[in-house]
């Protein structure tokens, strides 16, 4: 399990300095750390969050957006008709609810379809693993600015330590 402080620091170390999003339990620890560090601007919807990230990018920031995978559905139009075609990159940190069908019913369809949805709109993605974290982040840093499009890191339950005990 990755400590949320370590995870956030690793993102800051590769340049991320603007964070927004909508919470999920899997992302709770990361958001708590971001709020402690006063780096997080809460959004009310995920399409708003990716648009805010687009604006922040154009203003010189390196943005990341946190969301549950249900929010991928909500933000899809903004991602494809704003961030993608305008070449406004952002890192999507998406929690993988419904992974392998082990979750509440509302998460099951997106839990199964998310990789195909991301592929269909050509948003490159990787699933974070603890041993390969450094490599995953290197991939983000390289893909992000080279392709100038949104890229996604998928977080399964338990990968980053959630909220403090």
């Amino acid at each position: 399990m990755i400590d949320s402080d370590v995870f956030v620091q690793a993102l800051q170390d590769i340049g991320f300095n603007f964070f927004t999003g909508v919470p999920d339990s899997i992302l709770g620890g990361i958001i708590a750390t971001l709020m402690e560090r006063q780096l997080y601007v809460p959004a009310v919807r995920e399409d708003e969050a990716v648009a805010m990230a687009a604006g922040a990018f154009m203003g010189g920031k390196i943005p990341a957006v946190l969301m549950q995978n249900s929010g991928l559905g909500t933000s899809l139009n903004a991602l494809i008709s704003l961030n993608l075609i305008y070449q406004q990159p952002c890192l999507l940190l998406i929690s993988w609810r419904g992974f392998e069908g082990k979750d509440a019913p509302e998460h099951l369809v997106m839990g199964q379809s998310m990789p195909a949805v991301l592929d269909a709109v050509r948003i490159p993605s990787r699933t974070i693993s603890e041993p390969a974290l450094a490599e995953d982040l290197k991939w983000v840093a390289q893909t992000f600015m080279k392709q100038r499009i949104p890229v996604a890191l998928l977080l399964k339950k338990g990968i980053v330590k959630s909220i403090q005990p």
Partner: protein
């Protein structure tokens, strides 16, 4: 009668009056006819034109405003757009960026798709913005009032919300003749 009695301006005329007051302020324009009209009547490198992603103009503006706190950021929006992304009024009201001016041209219709009515005739968007926490909120009809209030908002700490009642009339304006990635690059360079 619609829009409300006393409205005298077309949206294009109202938008041109504001663009004439700008110097180097970043301007984010919502999708549909507003972007086409501003591109025709007042194109400048610091304009960001949305061609899709309806509803998120103030979210883009908020991102720019937070990244560039020393610049006043202006958003041109429509009533249909605001209604679609109404949650962002709350986000702006909570974050309270001092440097954001949100101008809404309210013609009470979805003008880019054939003038189907919106519900802004019933729902007062200025009252929603006030309740959401915008610091300065004004509602204007006449051109003189528009110019006066906007100049005042340029001087004041925001976030500010200026609701401009306009007619349904649209300019005969082409699509924005810039590629989306070109719009991004040009805008970024202009607001550096």
């Amino acid at each position: 009668m619609r829009p409300e009695e006393g409205t005298i301006q077309s949206r294009a005329r109202a938008m041109a009056a504001i663009v004439a007051l700008l110097s180097d302020e970043p301007l984010v324009v919502c999708n549909g006819f507003p972007s086409r009209e501003v591109f025709k009547l007042g194109d400048r490198p610091a304009n960001f034109y949305m061609i899709g992603s309806m509803g998120v103009a103030p979210a883009i503006g908020l991102g720019v405003a937070l990244a560039k706190p020393q610049k006043k950021v202006v958003v041109f929006d429509g009533d249909g757009n605001v209604l679609m992304g109404m949650g962002t009024l709350a986000t702006v009201g909570a974050v309270k960026p001092k440097n954001l001016i949100h101008v809404v041209f309210d013609n009470e219709v979805y003008g880019s798709t054939g003038n189907q009515p919106t519900i802004s005739r019933v729902v007062r968007l200025d009252a929603v913005a006030k309740a959401a926490g915008y610091v300065n909120v004004e509602r204007v009809l006449e051109r003189e009032d528009l110019v006066y209030e906007f100049k005042d908002m340029l001087k004041k700490d925001g976030p500010s919300f200026l609701l401009v009642k306009v007619t349904e009339q649209s300019e005969d304006a082409d699509r924005v003749l810039l590629e989306p990635d070109e719009i991004t690059r040009r805008f970024m360079k202009a607001i550096e």
